[in-house]
Amino acid sequence: MPLDYETLRIIWWVLLGVLLIGFAVMDGFDLGVAMWLPWLAKTDMERRVLINSIAPTWEGNQVWFILGGGAIFAAWPMLYALSFSGFYLAMLFVLLALILRPVGFKYRSKSTHPKWRSFWDKALFVSGFVPSLIFGVAVGNVLEGVPFYIDESLRPFYMGTFFNLLNPFGLLSGLLSVSMLAMHGAFFLNVKTEGYLQRRALIAAKVCSILTVLLFILGGIWLYYGIDGYSLTSIVAHDGPSNPLYKTVATATGAWFTNYRNMPALMIAPLLGLVAPLLAFYSHAIHALHLSVVPRH
C-alpha cells in the first residue's frame, strides 16, 4: 500500500471536514433561500427573482452534499451504515425533501397557473426547511449519544425510535441549524436582490443572526452542564484496524470540552460561530446607516 493507515486517516478527516463545511456554506445558501420563498417574496415576480438568485448554481452546490455522503460511505462505512439505517425515518424525510428541490426548481416555471406555482413554492420551502431542521436535530442527538450496539460480525443495531430524536436538546440544535441557514440565505438575498425584497431580506437576516447567536450560546451552556460527553479510554492505535469493538469509551459531564482544554487554539471555531453573525449584523447596520446619510447617485 502506498500510504499507511495513519496518513490515510488524516487525509480523509481533512477531506470530510472540507466537504461538510463546503456543503454548509455552499448549499446553505440554497437551503436558506428556499426557506424564505413563501415569506419574503410577495409577488410572483419577486418569487422568480428569489429563485433565480440560486437557480443556476444550486445543483453544483448540492454536489458538496453528495460528496460528503460519498466520503463517509467510502472512508467510514460503519458510520454510514449506522447513521442512515438508525435514523431511518429522519433520513427518509430528508431524502423526500431533497427530491422536491430539483423538481420544484425546474417544474415551477413550466406553467403559469397560480395554484401550480404556489404548490411548488410550498414544496421548495419544505425542501429547504426539512433538511436544515433534521441535520441540526441529528447533530444534537449525536452530541447527546444515540442508543445502538454492534454485534461480533459488526452488524449495527439501532435501538431508539424516530421520536427519541425529537428531544429538547435535539430540537434546540435543529432550531439553531434552521436559524443559521435562514440567516445565511437572507444575507445572500440581501446581496443578490434589490428594492423591497432586499429590504425585507436584510431585516430577516438581522433577526436570524441575533437568534442564531442566542441559540448557539444556549446550546453551548446546555452541552457543558447538562450533557455527558464521551471520551475514548482505550489506547488509540492510529494505524490499527478500523474496528469499534477494539475500543472503549467513558462518559463524563463536560467531556465534549476536553479538546478545548487540551488545545485552547481550537476555541477559535466556536468563537467564530459567535462573532461572525454579530459582525454580519453590525456591518449591515453600518452599511444601512451610510445609505441613509450619503445619498445615492
Binding site: I66, A74, Y80, S83
Partner: protein, 513 residues
C-alpha cells in the same frame, strides 16, 4: 441475528422499484445530452438558426427528464445506508470509493454545466456554449462509468480482500477495481443503450410532428441525426452485449445458465434456445426451439469448452458451502482471539468460500452446525429465477435487434431522401417510443436478478446485506416512494406531453425560472 426474510424481501422490493424508476430517466439523459452536443456542434459549424432551435427545444425536454434523474439518483445513494446497512459496512471500503469519485468527477461537471447550458445562452459565445454542452454530456457519461464500475464490482469482485479484523472487504488493488473487464463491458453496453434511447426519443417525436404535418424542416433534420447516431449505437449495444455475455461466463456461470434455461451441462458447443418455457418443477424447458452451436460460441468463444448447466453448478455449490462452513468456523475463532495462529491458517485456506458459508445463515444462525438438508437447501438457493431471466433476456434481445432494423431502414430511407415522407415508417418510429425503456429495464432485471442470491457475487449473500430495521419501517418508506414517485411520474408525463404538443415554435421561455 440477521433480519428476517420479510425485511429482506421488502428491502429488495424497494430497491428494485426505486432503481427501475431511476433508470427510466437515466438512459434518456445519457442519450439526449450527447445528441444535444452533436446538434449544437452542427449549429456552430453551419451557423444555421434551425439547429440552434433544435438544441433549445430538445434541451427543454432534456431538462424535464434530467431533474428527475438527479432527484431519484439521490434515493439510490441514501438507500445503501438506510436499507442495506450491513452491505454498506461490508463492502463500503470498495464500493463507496467509485461512488465518491462519481460525485467528484461526474456530478461537478454535470451540475455545473447543466446550469450553464440552460442559463448561458445569452451570456456565452456560441463556441463557449457548445463546449458547455459537450462537458455536460461528458459529465453524464462519466457518472455512468463510475456507477458501473461500482456495479461491475458486485458482479465480479476483483481487487479486494476480506479483512477479519474489520469484518469487511478492503481494497487491495484499486486499479483492478477500475479496470474490471466486466465493468468496462457493462459501461459501454449501458451508455450505448442510453444513446439508442435518446435516438428513439428524438426519432419518435419527430415522426409525430411529421405525421401531424408540422415543423417539417425541424423534424426532418432531427430524424436524420437520430437515425445515423441511433444505428451506430444500436450496433454497439448488441456487439457489446455479446461481450458481457462472454465475460459473465468466466465469473457468473449460473447467470448464463439461467438466462438460457440450461438445466444440464451440454456437450460443447452448446446450443442456443430461441424459445421455450422453463419449468422450475421438472427442471426442464418445455416447447424448446434451439439453434445448435451458437451459445457455446458466444459464451466460451470456442468449439470445445463445455458450458455448465444449472444442476451441475448447484452440485459444485455444495462443495463450496462445506468449505465455507470451515471458513466461518475459523472466522468465529478469530473473532474471539485475533491472534489465534491455527485459526489464521485455516482462514487462509478456506477464506475464499466464506460467502458460501454465509448462505447458510438463512437456515441456521450458527452456520457450522448445518445438516445435509440445510446444505442442500442453501445450494438450491444458488439458482436464480430461471423463468424471469429467460424471458427478460429474450425480450431485451428482440428489442435490440428491432432497433437495428428500425435505424437501418431509416438510414436507407434517409439516403434515398424519403425518410420524412414514408408514412408507414413514421408510424413505426412513433410506436417504437416505449421499447428502449422496456429493453433497458429488462436488461437490469437480467443483470441483477441473475446475480441472486448474491449482493456481491460469491462474497456477500443478499439476505445478509440488509439493515437491522423492521418491516413496518420499510413498508412506510415503500409507501412514501410509491406515492411520491407516482405523483412525479404524472407531472413529468404531463409536462412532456405539454411541451411536445407545443412544439419548437411555441416556446415562450427558454429554461429560465
Amino acid at each position: 441475528m440477521i433480519p428476517g426474510s420479510d425485511v429482506v424481501d421488502l428491502s429488495r422490493l424497494q430497491f428494485a422499484l426505486t432503481a427501475l424508476y431511476h433508470f427510466l430517466f437515466v438512459p434518456l439523459t445519457l442519450g439526449l445530452s450527447l445528441l444535444l452536443a452533436i446538434m449544437e456542434t452542427i449549429y456552430v459549424m453551419t451557423g444555421r438558426e434551425i439547429w440552434r432551435q433544435m438544441v433549445k427545444y430538445w434541451g427543454v425536454l432534456f431538462g424535464i427528464n434530467f431533474v428527475l434523474g438527479v432527484a431519484t439518483g439521490l434515493t439510490m445513494e441514501f438507500q445503501f445506508g438506510t436499507n442495506w446497512a450491513y452491505y454498506s459496512h461490508y463492502v463500503g471500503d470498495v464500493f463507496g470509493a467509485p461512488l465518491a469519485i462519481e460525485g467528484l468527477m461526474a456530478f461537478f461537471l454535470e451540475a455545473t454545466f447543466v446550469g450553464l447550458f440552460f442559463f448561458g445562452w445569452d451570456k456565452l459565445s456560441k463556441v463557449q456554449h457548445m463546449v458547455c454542452t459537450w462537458l455536460l454530456a461528458l459529465g453524464t457519461n462519466l457518472s455512468a462509468l463510475w456507477i458501473l464500475i461500482a456495479n461491475g464490482w458486485m458482479q465480479n469482485p476483483v481487487g479486494a480482500q476480506f479483512n477479519y479484523q474489520t469484518m469487511r472487504m478492503e481494497v487491495t488493488d484499486f486499479a483492478e477495481v477500475i479496470f474490471n473487464p466486466v465493468a468496462q463491458a457493462k459501461f459501454v453496453h449501458t451508455i450505448s443503450a442510453g444513446y439508442v434511447t435518446g435516438a428513439i426519443f428524438v426519432l419518435s417525436i419527430s415522426a409525430y410532428f411529421l405525421l401531424r404535418g408540422r415543423n417539417r424542416e425541424f423534424a426532418k433534420r432531427s430524424m436524420i441525426v437520430a437515425v445515423s447516431f441511433g444505428l451506430a449505437s444500436a450496433l454497439s449495444v448488441v456487439v457489446l452485449g455479446d461481450e458481457s455475455g462472454y465475460l459473465a461466463n468466466s465469473n457468473q456461470k449460473m447467470k448464463i445458465a439461467a438466462m438460457e434455461a440450461m438445466w444440464n451441462t451440454e456437450k460443447a458447443p452448446a446450443s442456443l434456445t430461441l424459445f421455450g418455457i422453463p419449468n422450475n418443477q421438472t427442471m426442464s424447458t418445455d416447447y424448446e426451439i434451439s439453434v445448435p452451436y451458437v451459445l457455446g460460441l458466444i459464451a466460451t468463444r470456442s468449439l470445445h469448452e463445455p458450458l455448465e448447466g444449472i444442476n451441475q453448478l448447484v452440485e459444485q455449490g455444495k462443495l463450496r458451502i462445506r468449505d465455507g462452513m470451515l471458513a466461518y468456523d475459523a472466522l468465529t475463532r478469530l473473532q474471539k482471539d485475533p491472534k489465534n495462529e491455527q485459526a489464521k491458517a485455516d482462514f487462509a485456506v478456506h477464506g475464499d468460500s466464506l460467502g458460501y458459508g454465509l448462505l447458510l445463515k438463512k437456515y441456521t444462525e450458527k452456520v457450522t452446525d448445518a445438516n445435509e438438508d440445510q446444505i442442500n437447501q442453501a445450494a438450491n438457493d444458488l439458482k436464480p429465477n430461471v423463468k424471469l431471466l429467460f424471458f427478460s433476456f429474450r425480450i431485451m434481445v428482440a428489442c435490440g435487434l428491432f432497433f437495428i432494423l428500425l435505424f437501418a431502414v431509416g438510414f436507407y430511407l434517409s439516403v434515398r431522401r424519403k425518410l420524412h415522407t414514408t408514412r408507414w415508417y413514421l408510424h413505426a418510429a412513433f410506436f417504437a417510443l416505449p421499447l428502449p425503456w422496456i429493453a433497458a429495464e429488462l436488461g437490469w432485471i437480467v443483470a441483477e436478478c441473475g446475480r441472486q442470491p448474491w449482493s456481491v457475487q460469491g462474497i456477500l449473500p443478499t439476505l445478509m446485506g440488509t439493515s437491522s430495521v423492521n418491516a413496518s419501517q420499510v413498508l412506510t418508506s415503500i409507501g412514501c416512494f410509491v406515492l411520491f414517485y407516482t405523483v412525479l411520474a404524472i407531472v413529468e408525463v404531463y409536462l412532456m406531453i405539454k411541451y411536445i404538443r407545443l412544439g419548437p415554435d411555441n416556446l415562450n421561455h427558454q429554461g429560465a425560472y
